[in-house]
Structure formats: structure tokens, C-alpha cells
Amino acid sequence: MGFDFNSLLAFIIFGVTIGVVYGIVALGISLIYSGLDIVHFAHGEMYMFGAFFGLVLAHNVGVPYPIALIGAMILTALLGMAVERVFYRRLTRAGGGYTVAGMGMIICGFGMSVALVNAAYFFFGAEAEPFRANLDYIPRLTFPGDINVPESYVLTAIISVLLMAGLHYFLRHTKTGLAVRAVAHNKDIAYLMGVNVPLMISLIFGLACGLAAAAGVLIGPMQSVQVEMGYLMLMKAFAAAVVGGFGSLPGAIVGGIMVGIFENLGAAYISASHKDIYAFLLLILVLMFKPSGLFGVEAKVKA
């Protein structure tokens, strides 16, 4: 197949639209990592639960799509906070504080992932569910070269950017955001500053899981919703987070977009039958030349 510029442009545009979604999931993973030193392996399941919550709200309850999006974010945030409070916190406390409990935490994350998947099978069933959203009020973008970007992707891009901007504002320009950053850097000192550290930890978890839920609800109308959807998203988001520099929030976004573009180009110009490999190929390349990731920073949470 010969090279033509329009196709290249299309691959890049589509890569960006899916990449921002990887980005917002990666953002949550980075937030949890920088805030709690936990690599959260069950984050893909938060994304999956978010998608199902959105689906149930939109189809069974019948609320409009934007409300379903917000509702799913809130419900998933609560779920994430409950999981952290009930399960993870015991472990972290056993580890001597609110941080690392080493291998135990990793196993617990995996276990939580399996548990949540099975819970989802129980509640939602194994069938993939179509997520029909009425998005007629969103414009369909047409780029030069007759590249059509469907409504759902336009919406995804817009909402992702809004969420990122919102998070940035929250962390940079509010007092609570300042407290979150303080907790992220050092829980003991934050405590001594009078910050309610356990509450902030819940908040961090809730935020991160809410972001994952948003990604789930945004992806839903494009890819249908099913219980096993979290695994692959987790892998891509991890790749994005590491490519961008684990713990760096702008890095998570840039990493996500890079993974999105890279895998689309790989699928187009190398082979589409191994598309999921490209994310990890990029990961390896980045780690070879810049082990700390593109935005790797000494101090965490630079927002």
C-alpha cells in the first residue's frame, strides 16, 4: 500500500482521540501512585465499573448521557474510596504508614482486580452490552482529506481535555489541591500541617477512580461495554503512565496520546494483527533511552 498523506493524518487524529482516553486513565494511575505510592492494578476494573454504571444510568434509569457520565464518575469514585478504605488501607497501615507495603500491595491489587471482575460478572453478566448514546448535539468533525471524526470521539476529546484542565486547576489553584499535593509528597508533614491525611487519601482515590469511570463512559458508545474490558485498558494506561514518567500528571496525558498515535501507526504501517504490542514497544523504546520516562521528575505530582 502506497504512502498517502491523508491516511497518515487520519491515523494520527484517531490515535489522539483514543490516546486522550488512555491519558485520563493513566492520570488516575499516576495520581494514586504519586499520592499513595501504590501501583493500582485494579484500576482497569474501575474503568469497567464506570462504564457499566454509566450504561445502567443511561439505559435502565434513563438519564441523559452527560448526567450518566457524571453519575458514573461519582459512583465509581465512591466504589474506589470504599475499596481503598476497606482493603488497601489495612495493608498500607501494616506497612507502617499510608505508603508502600511492597509486594503485599501488588498482590492485593491483582486480587482486587480478579474479585471486581467476578463481581461484575455476577452483577452485569458476561455479554457485551451496546451503549447507545444520543450525541446528535455534538458536531461531527471533518478534516481535510475527508477524514470523518465521529461525534463520540469529538466528545471524548472535549471531555478529556476538560477533565485534565479541571484536575490541573484543582491541584494548582485550590487549597485542597495544595493539600493533596502535600499528602502526595509526604504524609507525615502534611499531617503536621493539619491536613486530614486519611480524607485526602480517600479524595485521591475517588478522583482517580472517577477519572477512570469517565474514560469508561466515554469509550462505551464506541466499543460496547463488557466485563473484561478493563484489562487491556489497564495495560495501555500503564504504558502511557510509564512512557510519560510514572507519577507525572502531564506525562500521563502526553504518554497516553503517544501510545494512541504509536499503536495506530504501527497497526497501519507494520501489522494490525498485533496492535496491542506497539504500546509496549514504545514503552521499551522510551525506557531504553530515558528510563525515567519523558516527563520523569524527581519530585512527584508536578501537575
Binding site: I18, N148, P150, Q223, S224, Q226, L232, A267, K275
Partner: protein, 401 residues
């Protein structure tokens, strides 16, 4: 996570194995491994069990009861092989039914061939299943090699020869794509206008659709498992490829999730199958009614019809086999059942044409069902509707090298 799942599954299987009890002499032991992850899958697994129970309730096979063990392989080959091994070596079954997915049935063929256990395939279409030369395998569904021929003939004569291919990496779809490509080449001398080999569970087809859109093709073959196919169909419309470009489905297009998930994008999709719910024969109407009442199925696809036909053929064969059913006669009984299935001829059931087997371990003998029906969706969604476009019976040698 997957890896962990497998570890857990292994531990579970080992536990079950230890707990397995000695089988009773005098029963005909049938082991079943199928994909039962979806509602559909659970329903047709249940149907097989119900039909076997009905045989027992009616007096069994010459006074002997059928003891059936149903296992779920989730369409995963490692689980399917583990199930088959457990059923054969611990449950000491006389006959294995399985599996749904080609990628699971294929490795099980080697297990049954080695152990000398007759295997009836309820659903898998991959042509290679019967090309391995096993004496023990019998396929109830229509082989992919026939489907390819039917599809190619219909497409070339009614739609055009400029076809884009989207081929997912699961065994059935790989086979469906290869067959279609081969038949289009043989019949019309054309190569695919575009071909994308995508992952089994690919979620994003937009780049491919964008390219296909710029090529002005006559049709797009989407060969993939149900959910993947549904996504590809939706995204083909999202990319702006019009209705005039026909969408051709692979064998999985018959699965209910395709119209359910794809919705409006399913309309106009056509595919070949072994059974059409829109079939107007009385037996078909009765069957549709039965599955709706008992299992709440809107319109049974060939998963159901084939499973049903399989139980009927099994019943015929077991009735005609000379069985001792003692511990020492296990191998002889298995052979007798194999020979009895091989002598089934001209069975007429739900399948669109008669099903016949013969003794040679060749595809000609063991692909017993050679009649495919072309079905088109006229409406998508939960309450989808279909129509029969054509019915075609192929020669036994068709599609072989």
C-alpha cells in the same frame, strides 16, 4: 490478570480432579465442553442437558441412561483441553461433545484422537478440524470451506468482486477469511482490494474504515467473533461508508450479540449459516417456538440448531451401537459409538440439508453437513429480523486442495 486466572483455573481443575468419583457401570457417559460465557451459551448448554434428560425420561438408550457432564471452557483452548482430559481420563466418558470455538475444538481433536474417544463438534467451522485425519471426529455444523464457497459465489455474482477484508485473529475468522479469499481467487480470479488482519478483540477499526472508504469497494467482509464484528460494523458507518457498500459477515454473524450490539449497523449484513430462524419448514417453526418458550430466545441461531441436531444424531447412533457398558469394555464401546456415528446417513433435522457421515477419517466423510443457507439481517437490535437469501449444497470435495 489473565495469567492469574489461568493459575487459579489450574488449581481448581486439580481440586476437582481429586474429588472425582468412580463412574457407574451401565451408564453411557457423555462429556460436554462448550463456551457458556454468554446468556446464549448458557441457554444452549442447558438445552443440550434438557434434551439428554428427555431421552433418559423416555427410557434411555435401550434401557441405559445417559450420564452427561457439562463443562464450560469459556472459549479458551487451555480450559477446553483441560476439560477434555478430565472428562476422558477421570470421568471415563464414552463420547465427547465439544467445543463451540474452533480454537478450542482444534486442540481437543488431538486429545480425542490419542485417547480413542469419539468427538462430536457442535459448532466449530474451521476447516482444519476434519483435515487432521482423526478417525474420531464428527462435525455437525457446516465447514468453513463450504461457507467460503457459498459466500464467494453469492458475493461475486450479486455484489461485485472488489472486496475489502477485515480478518480477526481467532481461529474461526482466520479460516473464514482464508476460505473466502481462496474461493474469490478460484472463482473470479480476484485478490482482496484491502486486507487488514486485526486482533481477536480489536476495538478500534477507524483507520481501516478510513482507508476502505477511500477505495470505493463493492463490499466489506468482516470476519470476527460476534462482539468484535459488531464494533467493526458500527465503526464502518461512523467512518461514513454508505449502505451501498455491502457488509458481509463471517460465520459468527449468526450470533445474536451481533445484531444486538451493532443495532442499525447490522441491517443489510448477510452471512452464511447452517440454520435460518426465518426457515419456514414446520420443524423449524416448532424449534423456534420451543427455544423461545423454554429459554427465552428471540430467534435461535445455528448454535442452537446444531446442538439440537447433535443430540438427535447422538441418540440415533447410540441406539444403533452395540454397547456392553462395563469397565472393561470402555475402549470397545467407544469404538462402537464411533462406528455408529460414522454410519449415520441422510439425517434430516434443523440443518438446511441432510447430514451424512462415513467411515474414512477424511474431511469428505466427517464434514457431514454440506448445505449452507445465506441469511441477511433486515433489522438490527434486540428484536432483530432476518431473511433467507439462498440455500446452497456443496460437493464433498469442495474447498479441498
Amino acid at each position: 490478570m489473565r495469567v492469574l486466572n489461568k493459575v487459579f483455573a489450574g488449581v481448581m481443575a486439580a481440586g476437582v480432579g481429586l474429588a472425582a468419583t468412580a463412574a457407574f457401570a451401565g451408564d453411557i457417559r457423555v462429556g460436554i465442553t462448550m463456551r457458556m460465557v454468554s446468556e446464549n451459551g448458557q441457554a444452549y448448554g442447558q438445552m443440550v442437558m434438557d434434551e439428554i434428560k428427555a431421552i433418559n425420561d423416555a427410557g434411555g438408550i435401550n434401557g441405559n441412561m445417559i450420564e452427561a457432564t457439562l463443562m464450560n471452557d469459556e472459549c479458551k483452548s487451555d480450559k477446553g483441553v483441560a476439560n477434555a482430559n478430565k472428562l476422558i481420563f477421570q470421568e471415563k466418558i464414552h463420547l465427547l461433545i465439544g467445543s463451540t470455538c474452533s480454537s478450542v475444538s482444534l486442540p481437543i481433536v488431538d486429545v480425542t484422537a490419542k485417547a480413542g474417544v469419539p468427538q462430536m463438534i457442535p459448532h466449530s467451522t474451521n476447516a482444519k478440524i476434519t483435515q487432521k485425519g482423526s478417525e474420531w471426529v464428527f462435525r455437525i455444523p457446516v465447514s468453513g470451506r463450504y461457507y467460503g464457497g457459498v459466500n464467494a459465489k453469492y458475493v461475486g455474482e450479486n455484489i461485485g468482486t472488489k472486496i475489502a477484508y477485515i480478518c480477526a485473529a481467532d481461529a474461526a475468522s482466520v479460516g473464514d477469511c482464508a476460505n473466502m479469499e481462496k474461493q474469490m481467487r478460484a472463482r473470479f480470479g480476484v485478490e482482496p482490494a484491502y486486507r487488514a488482519d486485526v486482533q481477536e478483540k480489536e476495538v478500534d477499526f477507524r483507520s481501516h474504515m478510513q482507508k476502505i472508504k477511500s477505495m470505493n469497494v463493492d463490499g466489506i467482509l468482516v470476519a470476527a467473533l460476534a462482539e468484535t464484528m459488531a464494533r467493526a460494523l458500527i465503526q464502518s458507518y461512523e467512518a461514513g461508508i454508505g449502505e451501498d457498500v455491502r457488509r458481509i459477515g463471517s460465520s459468527s454473524a449468526s450470533n445474536a450479540p451481533v445484531p444486538k450490539i451493532a443495532g442499525d449497523a447490522a441491517k443489510g449484513v448477510f452471512f452464511t449459516a447452517a440454520y435460518a430462524a426465518a426457515d419456514d419448514r414446520p420443524i423449524a417453526k416448532l424449534f423456534n417456538e420451543m427455544t423461545r418458550q423454554r429459554y427465552g430466545i428471540h430467534a435461535p441461531d445455528h448454535d442452537f440448531s446444531q446442538a439440537y441436531d447433535l443430540v438427535r444424531i447422538m441418540e440415533m447412533a447410540l441406539n444403533s451401537a452395540d454397547l456392553n457398558l462395563s469397565d472393561s469394555s470402555l475402549a470397545a464401546d467407544r469404538t462402537a459409538i464411533r462406528d455408529a456415528i460414522a454410519s449415520v446417513e441422510g439425517y434430516e433435522g434443523l440443518a438446511s440439508g441432510p447430514i451424512s457421515f462415513c467411515a474414512a477419517p477424511t474431511p469428505q466423510c466427517r464434514d457431514g453437513n454440506r448445505t449452507a443457507v445465506l441469511i441477511g439481517y433486515t433489522k438490527g437490535g434486540e428484536n432483530f429480523e432476518t431473511e433467507v437469501l439462498a440455500r446452497v449444497t456443496m460437493e464433498p470435495d469442495f474447498g479441498l486442495e
